[in-house]
């Protein structure tokens, strides 16, 4: 097996975790990972030897994610319908989530994609500020303010129980 492909293969669990933090829903997250892998394969030659496969792949995935978020936002305001009582929107049936997990994952989904990506990249994926800023293509100062605001926002969402409920029912 090709060394590059072996290196890519070993990054899949991390890519899946990052995608899950961005998108929550398992199938959607895996679609994003698949998109990322397919694009990576096409660009295999752009990957310079010595460059960390992790950073390279995360950069590709981040661009895919942000491009899509931009498309979404260009369509203007959208709103989810309130879900029927007891209907779990994104928790797959075969995945038992604790209340705490569900709450924090809901809150994470409710913060802006830029902040979410910055926070997860550093706090979960363990990238340094310099690495994360490089992947996200922003100055280190911007990254730091996204992380700080992301954490603050997450805390606020978890604290405010009425707002917490509104994460799943945002229709006015």
């Amino acid at each position: 097996m090709d060394d590059k492909k072996a290196a890519i293969l070993s990054e899949i669990p991390r890519l899946r975790r990052y995608a899950r933090s961005l998108l929550r829903d398992r199938d959607s997250a895996d679609d994003l990972v698949q998109d990322c892998l397919e694009r990576a394969l096409v660009r295999l030659d752009n990957w310079q030897t010595g460059e960390s496969p992790r950073r390279w792949l995360f950069t590709i995935m981040h661009h895919l994610f942000i491009d899509q978020m931009r498309k979404v936002n260009r369509r203007g305001e959208a709103a989810m319908l309130p879900l029927e009582a007891g209907e779990a929107q994104s928790a797959p049936a075969d995945q038992v989530e604790t209340v705490a997990s569900r709450e924090i994952m809901d809150a994470l989904q409710a913060i802006s994609p830029d902040r979410r990506a910055a926070l997860v990249m550093v706090a979960i994926e363990g990238f340094s500020y310099a690495e994360a800023a490089n992947i996200l293509g922003v100055p280190a100062g911007t990254l730091m303010s996204r992380i700080a605001r992301g954490r603050e926002e997450l805390r606020g969402l978890l604290d405010d129980s009425s707002r917490r409920r509104s994460i799943r029912i945002v229709e006015r």
Partner: protein, 264 residues
């Protein structure tokens, strides 16, 4: 030793391993002396632990075969609509940030348009509505007076057991329906309804979807809105220029009846 003033910013740096080692002791002393900052730090640490715990399981999940295959260029081909699943999920996420985070949206407004083949169903539904709902005499191919035939015909063409929802309680009467193309090869049923004031809404149903998602969507700020559901084996959009409350009310009723019909 040079002393410096620490700020909240240092809490994040300390948490993320970015605080220079030689400042650590002074930082710890500062934290010790500032209960408010200490509480903040403890809280961030706890939230991070919760986040890590919530995501830890992903690393242990077996890698789906399709992802392994993708690395070797062997992934099975995905249908034209496959991309919409994570796109819609992203849309849902974007929805949740409406309010308060308008800066993000404002910041990307200037980006040029690129190709969106992702959300065909909803865009087709809106396009069909714009064209046909404006037609007075030729809005439908089969009128409501021939409802049984309409339902049988569209069911056969679309490949779903289609029951035209009764929306009288919401003030809408069935006008009729027509057959439309959907996706690359599929077909969709369009059912047109009208209220006493002549306001029209469309139901767009297709068997083409392989996704599961729901949401609302509008192509233009003052254009009609669509409320849609996608699930494996069928997709449905309700389009109209109603208030969001009314559209959502109509959509819920329509969807419930469609679903009951499809699965009956």
């Amino acid at each position: 030793m040079t002393r410096r003033d620490f700020t909240e910013r240092d809490i994040h740096m300390a948490l993320d391993g970015e605080l220079p080692g030689e400042e650590r002791m002074a930082y710890d002393a500062w934290l010790e002396a500032n209960p408010e900052m200490r509480a903040k730090s403890a809280r961030y640490i706890a939230d991070r632990a919760a986040l890590r715990a919530a995501l830890a399981g992903v690393m242990d999940e077996p890698v789906p075969a399709r992802l392994r295959q993708a690395v070797f260029g062997e992934a099975p081909a995905r249908g034209p609509a496959w991309r919409s699943r994570w796109w819609l999920s992203a849309a849902a996420a974007a929805v949740l940030m409406v309010g308060g985070i308008s800066g993000y949206v404002a910041g990307i407004d200037g980006i040029g348009r690129s190709d969106n083949s992702d959300d065909q169903l909803v865009e087709q539904a809106i396009a069909a509505h714009v064209i046909y709902a404006a037609e007075k005499r030729h809005a439908v191919e089969v009128p409501a007076s021939d409802k049984d035939h309409l339902q049988t015909w569209l069911s056969n063409r679309v490949g779903l057991k289609l029951v035209a929802p009764d929306l009288v309680a919401q003030g809408f009467e069935l006008v009729g329906g027509r057959l439309l193309p959907s996706g690359e090869h599929g077909k969709a049923a369009m059912l047109l309804y009208e209220d006493a004031k002549g306001e029209r809404i469309s139901l767009f149903v297709t068997a083409e979807s392989s996704e599961a998602a729901k949401g609302t969507y509008s192509a233009e700020a003052d254009g009609p809105q669509a409320v849609y559901w996608l699930d494996k084996g069928y997709g449905c959009a309700v389009v109209g220029s109603l208030s969001r409350e009314r559209l959502s009310d109509v959509a819920k009723s329509a969807y419930g009846q469609l679903l009951a019909g499809i699965s009956s």
